[in-house]
């Protein structure tokens, strides 16, 4: 999957036989989060009621689909900017929805899942979902994730061009390959630097163990999760002020890692 596609590009991939399918103007794709369209695919009406109220008060436009079929249909016709997808749907597996939507759209997908379904979350992320939330979740958390997803979708390609990444006291200067924490230079091995750079380019996003291993070490190493933990432990000792309470390199237990993004 290629994440460089902007929302406008993804829309151009829509089936042209749909009445509403049309090329979106660059202006709309670059619009600020406020007013962004959020499609919630969840079969539970009460969840929808609560989420809708939260979304509208945060300035989003919201729409609801209670089945997978309806959800796929609406994501094709209504052009949502973010998809909130419950993995347990009455008619189809949520993972199938994820898979189908990804065949023609790069719309950010946030999956909702219950505790104990780590494999589903990992699968969803590997199928191209952008983030996940474990039920029950707080509205504030959901809104924060939506904003991150929208930001990623709005400025996807510019990130790679940025000369500098900054979060909290952690600064990465890509041009000089230099990393500083609270103004102090940190010496990283080339692999550590590559890993941090990869995380920085995907800041705020959950990266599965496999995705990280594949991107940095190649497909042959994608099962070496334990060694990845050792590696992260070393990296944390170098860049975290308190490695036992990481501020930058966040653990998603059973899933992967995420680099904290400046809010």
């Amino acid at each position: 999957m290629n994440t460089t596609g902007s929302p406008s590009e993804s829309r151009s991939l829509l089936p042209s036989d749909k009445g509403e399918a049309r090329l979106a103007s660059p202006a709309t794709s670059a619009r600020p989060p406020t007013g962004a369209r959020v499609l919630v695919i969840d079969d539970e009406p009460e969840i929808w009621r609560a989420v809708r109220a939260g979304l509208i008060s945060a300035g989003f436009t919201a729409e609801w689909a209670s089945t997978a079929a309806e959800g796929i249909d609406l994501s094709a016709r209504w052009h949502p900017d973010v998809l909130i997808l419950d993995l347990s749907l009455p008619d189809q597996d949520g993972l199938d929805v994820c898979r189908q939507v990804r065949t023609w759209s790069q719309v950010p997908i946030i999956v909702l899942s219950v505790r104990g379904k780590d494999e589903d979350k990992v699968t969803a992320l590997e199928l191209g979902a952008d983030d996940y939330l474990t039920k029950p979740f707080s509205m504030a958390e959901l809104l924060a994730r939506i904003r991150v997803a929208l930001r990623h979708a709005a400025y996807p390609s510019t990130r790679g061009d940025q000369a500098r990444f900054e979060t909290g006291g952690l600064v990465i200067d890509f041009e000089r390959r230099q990393v500083t924490v609270e103004g102090r230079d940190v010496h990283l091995t080339p692999t550590e630097y590559d890993l941090l750079k990869y995380l920085a380019h995907n800041a705020g996003k959950v990266l599965t163990h496999r995705a990280i291993l594949q991107a940095i070490w190649g497909p042959a190493y994608e099962q070496e999760t334990s060694y990845l933990r050792v590696f992260f432990n070393q990296l944390r000792r170098k860049i975290e002020p308190d490695p036992s309470r990481p501020r930058y390199l966040l653990t998603e237990l059973g899933i992967g890692y995420r680099l904290r993004e400046t809010e």
Binding site: R115, E141, A215, W217, G218, F231, R237, T251, L253, G254
Partner: protein, 623 residues
């Protein structure tokens, strides 16, 4: 099918005489190969003790031969003595012979000896010698007295002897049955009971030609399976694999019909042909036939089961005295009854245990329901109250009031969530469906995730956290989700039972050998009384809230499930968990997790990026 059950090694061969000519291990047997551990023990050793008191194994005519020989010997002796001195009552020597014969061989030989003695004394020693006539009428008297006395002595002694034998027999039976009863009483589990029973039966009946013994029990579909076997050294347990299908068929037939069956099997060994009798006997109890006892032995062993319908072999008379066979077969029948009773009792016991377990689990469910109902209702009630207050028409809430109501809803919902996940965890753990799925993890990653979440929900605000995790802690296999639950429960506990502003400390270190990760979570709460340190890990146990100083204002919430879940999880990981406490100063919860060898200790398995080209663009994340 039963082959794999023969796991116990055959007992050591204790026969002193080894037949040197007997080849081992490679005997051609018709149809089935049989591994013989050692030649059979000789059962017919003639010792002096046997001659004096032959119990079972001399042929029936040996007594009569002994009678003839004895009388001849006595006659010879009398003749010799008569040459030296003349003794009037020398005929008493015959009485000694009769006495011995009646003791050793019973009534028949004694009777024969009496008559022979009478005739021999008349013929050889009473004038006219070498004739059966008597000259002196007084000699008639001594002859008559000899005959009558010897007849009476013979009969009386034989009777006493028979009584004594019966007494010995019944003592043996009693001892055997008592031994069985003791075995049954002392057996700790079903399998060892069954093994002990067949071993004991084999020991008792080995002198009667039984060489192996097995217990067949039906499974739920009434198909018999061998549950326990025993064999003497002479015949390895492979005997039960002889004609396996037929054996199963026989066992099934006996189970269905309740009558014993047997058959003989001819086994061609290298030099000799041996015949075995395989008998299947029903084990009957009130509820019917509950099992089958199989005896494998020499053809003579068949007499143990007089009512046996024998297939596959010709009838054969062994000439044993009926009474001896009777007593042995009665003993076998009594043993079968005992075994059947023991098996039935074990079955009933198992049912009773199951019923008790069911009762206890019902009791648990009741307790759970009681405890949980309260815990579920309380937050629900506050949610309901707060929400309906907010919704009530005509009331305008100030923003502070509204906020407070909403906060109460949020806190109650969180409480409900925690309770429900604890309940789910416990039921999954107890049902055994939540076996840990360990993966090599850093304990620090788990702790920080839990702390982040507690922070997010505002639970850490009133306490100070202190982390003491050495940087070189190894990876330890654990189920991260379950360990997350352990830390959540322990930390929430510490937060709940210690005053605001106090320090909660999380420490970890490696101890051993054997290498273990030790994690300590300490608070500065009021502590736990020493008497309750163990009980707190029991389900539903709560430290008496009257002891908590702030209990008057607000009783800490909880179901008493959290620590039980922790203990369950830690034990499932092969670790230990316990608590230490100083009342008034605080409590420490400690748990350990085993660290097996071979964990990834460094990232050496991953190449450096110089060995592999680093990704040029970050956007290569392919699903």
């Amino acid at each position: 099918m039963a082959r794999h059950l023969f796991t116990s090694p055959p007992p050591p061969d204790n026969t002193p005489e080894d037949q040197p000519g007997a080849p081992r291990n490679k005997q051609a047997i018709h149809r089935v190969s049989l591994v013989r551990a050692a030649p059979p023990p000789r059962r017919h050793r003639l010792t002096s003790a046997r001659l004096l008191f032959p119990e079972l194994h001399l042929p029936w005519w040996s007594g009569y031969v002994a009678a003839v020989l004895g009388v001849a010997l006595a006659s010879g002796a009398i003749g010799l003595i008569n040459q030296q001195v003349h003794l009037a009552n020398i005929s008493l020597l015959y009485l000694l012979v009769v006495l011995w014969l009646s003791t050793a061989f019973g009534r028949g030989p004694a009777l024969l000896a009496s008559v022979l003695a009478f005739l021999a004394y008349d013929f050889f020693f009473i004038p006219p010698i070498y004739r059966f006539t008597v000259d002196d009428p007084t000699e008639w008297v001594s002859l008559g007295v000899l005959l009558v006395t010897s007849l009476v002595i013979g009969q009386l002694t034989a009777l006493v002897q028979k009584r004594a034998r019966e007494a010995r027999e019944s003592q043996r039976q009693t001892a055997t049955l008592y031994g069985l009863a003791q075995l049954i009483a002392s057996a700790t589990d079903q399998q060892s009971l069954q093994e002990a029973l067949v071993q004991r039966i084999l020991e008792v009946f080995a002198p009667l030609g039984v060489e192996a013994c097995a217990l067949w029990l039906p499974d739920s579909s009434k198909h018999p399976h061998i549950q326990a076997t025993a064999a003497t050294g002479s015949l390895s347990q492979a005997a039960f694999t002889l004609e396996e299908r037929e054996q199963v068929g026989q066992a099934r037939w006996v189970l269905a019909h309740g009558t014993p069956v047997g058959w003989t099997l001819t086994v061609n060994e290298a030099s000799t042909t041996r015949r075995y009798t395989l008998s299947h006997l029903p084990l009957r109890c009130q509820s019917g036939v509950i099992g089958v006892l199989e005896l494998v032995g020499t053809p003579e062993s068949r007499r143990l089961v007089p009512q046996l319908a024998l297939f596959g072999g010709e009838q054969q008379h062994t000439g044993k005295k009926a009474s001896e066979s009777d007593s042995s077969s009665r003993l076998l029948a009594a043993c079968c009854d005992q075994v059947a009773l023991a098996l039935e009792r074990a079955t009933l016991q198992r049912q009773a245990i199951n019923a008790e377990a069911l009762r206890q689990s019902n009791h648990l469910k009741d307790a759970l329901l009681g405890s949980v109902t309260h815990e579920l209702r309380t937050p629900l009630a506050s949610i309901e109250a707060a929400a309906s207050s907010l919704l009530s028409p005509g009331v305008t809430w100030s923003s502070a009031e509204g906020h407070e109501l909403l906060e109460s809803i949020t806190i109650s919902a969180r409480r409900l969530n925690r309770l429900v996940s604890n309940l789910l965890d416990l039921s999954r753990l107890e049902a055994g469906v939540a076996a840990p799925q360990p993966d090599w993890q850093y304990i620090g990653e788990v702790v920080s995730v839990v702390l982040d979440r507690l922070e997010l929900t505002g639970q850490l605000q009133r306490h100070q956290m202190e982390m003491k995790l050495p940087e070189d802690l190894p990876l330890v296999p654990m189920d991260h989700e379950q360990m997350e639950q352990v830390f959540t429960n322990l930390l929430e506990n510490a937060l709940k039972y210690s005053p605001a502003g106090s320090i909660i400390r999380v420490e970890a270190r490696v101890i051993g050998p054997p290498a273990e990760l030790e994690v300590r979570i300490s608070d500065q709460g009021i502590g736990i009384p020493a008497s309750e340190l163990k009980a707190i890990f029991d389900k539903f146990y709560r430290v008496q809230s009257a002891r908590l100083p702030w209990a008057r204002m607000r009783a800490p919430v909880g179901t008493g499930l959290g620590l039980a879940i922790c203990a369950n999880i830690i034990h499932a990981h092969g670790g230990r968990i316990w608590a230490e406490s100083q009342e008034g100063k605080g409590s420490t919860f400690i748990f350990t997790l085993p660290i097996p060898d071979g964990g990834p200790q460094s990232d050496s398995a991953l190449p450096t990026s110089t060995e592999r080209a680093a990704p040029q663009t970050p956007e290569v994340i392919t699903p």
